[in-house]
Amino acid sequence: MATVELTFSALPAHVRTARLVATAIARRTGVAEAILDEVRLAVGEACSRAVEAHRLHCPGEPVRIELRDDAGRFEVTVTDAAPSEDVTPQVLEANGSLMPEIDNLGIAVIAGLADDVEVLPGPKGMRIRMSWPASSPGIAAL
């Protein structure tokens, strides 16, 4: 098992950097090209949510990402330090009228993209762990 860790200031401009890093490492880890777009979008969603939460609660604290090659899976964990309540992934029930709010839409997108997702809210922050299949030898061989 090998891990790459990245921390960044809670600024929207850095989310793109995080996406690019995650995608590059996913590719090197052996994640199929066909699902790299899903990794990029899911990591971006998790980081965007974390940045927005930090800007509200703790703008000076960095957001942390761990990218792990674990037993044939590429696992990404995004951890923030902003207090969060329970979050239920929601998919819009659109019937032609607009939903009044789209809170948690990012979580819904992540849930729709990754086949293995764990969202752990808590008073000291939220942790979103997600993973995709990857081929060996992965990061450990870099």
Binding site: L41, G44, S48, V91, A94, G96, V109
Partner: protein, 116 residues
């Protein structure tokens, strides 16, 4: 890639050409443009997303916000998009049922003409 925005009007329809990435960093610029267009009386918008490389839920929120604004004036906000990776996020969130999504600007213009 950054976000490039352009717009022009054809008859009663304002076409917004979007190129690049729509995310938490760039989405505010699209939001400002849509608000500005509505404030200036453009209530029928067609957002051409054929050159969008990346769209996340922040961008979806901006589009939904734009739709709410134009609907308040009996207007419309529709999309041109054929890219599977962009369409996928609309499907995941159920927004394919909310937005009219067309394969080309011409197709959207024809539909808009029929609805007038």
């Amino acid at each position: 890639m950054d976000l490039k925005l352009d717009h022009h009007s054809e008859d009663n329809l304002t076409i917004v050409d979007v190129e690049g990435e729509i995310d938490v960093y760039t989405a505010p610029r699209l939001r400002e443009l849509l608000i500005d267009l509505v404030n200036k009386g453009n209530f029928h918008l067609l957002v051409n997303m054929e050159k969008v490389d990346f769209l996340d839920s922040t961008g979806l929120g901006v589009l939904v916000g734009g739709l709410k604004r134009v609907r308040a004036h009996d207007g419309s906000l529709e999309l041109v998009c054929t890219q599977e990776r962009i369409l996928k996020i609309f499907r995941i969130t159920g927004l394919t049922k909310v937005f009219g999504i067309y394969a080309s600007v011409e197709e959207a213009k024809e539909a808009h003409g029929r609805d007038k």
